[in-house]
Symmetry: C2
Subunit: 321 residues, 2 copies
């Protein structure tokens, strides 16, 4: 059942003993939503804990500085930024059928919760949580403000992506008044990389190949390369975006060998070209600007097949080129 | 003479035939201020041109799409984002002593203009221009809004740096209502790099060395390397920031050989360490988080001297290490 902002605020004020569930592989938005809501509920005298199937990442240490789980029997289950109960992960899936309230921003939310407050226009669940806390009359402490700011900033690539809303900016202007350590948080979120990540990026940049009048950038990482160079698989998140960073590139492709001779292809568009349509030809799919497919065969064949799919979208006839 | 926002608006409404001067090596803020103001003045029937000692960079093409210089005799000279008349550059220095109005945000402004509107708390001159145009009752067209947005976004690293003000966010929320191509502008400003730049970044990353328990990152680029690798000198802007991007690094150093055996050192702090104090020991200076100096000698000596200056600030005794 979809409920309104006011109904959500009423529900939260009228219940107690909260387990707040975040999604597995937690990001800044689910963490910020979870801890922001938890501190707000504690502020009005409720018992509340934040739960996650994975450990809280050190990256978000400032959100749970001084946080201690409370001892109580859970009565109310709230999920934040969790579009599908499957995303609760191994430890929390036990609560999947008993979620009393879900607060989210994914248009794809599967309505698994008893009550759902979802705003698909919001860039981040933290944007929705901010509105709920406002409706509840919560005081935006520095701690709450830092949680919400981080969710908004990370989900928008620091206000860079197309999902950034006017409300993101307006909320941030308010949160800056609450003493948030904006500069430090931004540095940790956006300007600091692990050495393992730097190594992966370096490899991707140096192995990048340019085709089709330099309008297509393509890079392949084989199992062999992974083994030889010691690149860390967990550091590949979001790496596909690197394929379209060079000036003039319209379509970028990252090919990663998952099993021997089986390649996972991530395609990005930095132009009007619909990469989802291209990937569909190869049995894949996705969005207009970000899509993928899986191809088998020798790597050179895979590259050639991809190029023959991409070239027509650029108005290039491969066989005349 | 310092004048107020209202006085500035009155001045602009009561004069005509404007030459708007931008600074040399134009960035997004001086360009956005110049064109934003120019379109605003034309909107209320004035003659106005934007001038620069350098060519308008292609990077900011969307600011001057459809712009044509008008023919008229200049009567009023306005400089935007120009802290020092010397920054007008070779072509525009002729106007240096005749600037009727300067609109700026640099605390270091040298008061060379007849009238000065300066707000040192503003992150960008475009933030000040926005307020002036508001005071003048200008309609914020898409074109004007894109100019001002770009100045604010580029001067704050897309709302990432510590200089970002609440007003930056509030203004942006408004400008988003004026039809700006936010996503496209952000992509061009922040996610697109020339191949020459990618090559420089790649070299810097691969040549980075770590010292002092990995708390100090240091990279040197010699004249020899520049020659061998064909790195483009003009692509080194802002490269010093890369020295502090690895997790755990407190002080980063980029050493560039300017003349044979003469090294320009750029030092950055990602901690409480005051790199300006360290650089002062070597006859240099700067800010707490960004400073520099020049050292001579064989490169290995230069590195060792720098490390011996940095180590004590980290509480590390080099000779015991």
């Amino acid at each position: 059942m979809n409920i309104s902002l006011t109904e959500t605020a009423e529900f939260l004020k009228n219940h107690d003993n909260y387990y707040i569930l975040t999604h597995q592989s937690p990001d800044g938005d689910t963490m910020g939503s979870g801890f922001g809501l938890c501190y707000a509920l504690r502020q009005i005298g409720k018992n509340a804990n934040v739960l996650c199937s994975d450990e809280f990442p050190k990256r978000y240490h400032f959100m749970y500085e001084g946080y201690e789980p409370q001892k109580f029997s859970p009565e109310t289950i709230v999920a934040v930024d969790v579009a599908d109960k499957k995303l609760l992960g191994t430890k929390l899936i036990q609560y999947g059928d008993y979620v009393n309230l879900c607060i989210d921003h994914h248009v794809s939310n599967l309505h698994y919760a008893e009550r759902l407050l979802v705003n698909p226009d919001a860039a981040a669940a933290c944007e929705v949580i901010y509105q709920v806390l406002g409706e509840m009359g919560i005081e935006f402490t520095k701690q709450i403000a830092e949680c919400l700011y981080t969710g908004i900033a990370t989900d928008t690539g620091c206000f860079k992506y197309g999902n950034t809303t006017q409300l993101c900016h307006i909320i941030t202007a308010h949160l800056m008044d609450c003493g948030i350590r904006m500069e430090q948080i931004n540095r940790e979120m956006f300007d600091t990389k692990s050495k393992a990540r730097l190594k992966v990026e370096q490899h991707i940049n140096s192995a990048m190949e340019y085709y089709l009048d330099d309008k297509c950038a393509m890079v392949a990482v084989t199992l062999d390369t992974m083994k030889k160079t010691g690149l860390a698989l967990e550091e590949f998140e979001g790496i596909a975006g690197m394929s379209v960073q060079a000036e003039g590139v319209q379509v970028g492709v990252v090919i990663r060998e998952k099993d021997k001779g089986k390649f996972k292809v991530s395609m990005r568009s930095a132009s009007d070209i619909d990469v989802s349509a291209i990937c569909q030809k190869f049995g894949g799919g996705g969005h207009v600007k970000a899509a993928g497919c899986t191809l088998e065969g020798p790597l050179d064949d895979v590259k050639l097949r991809l190029l023959s799919g991409i070239a027509p979208a650029m108005g290039i006839d491969l066989w005349l080129a």
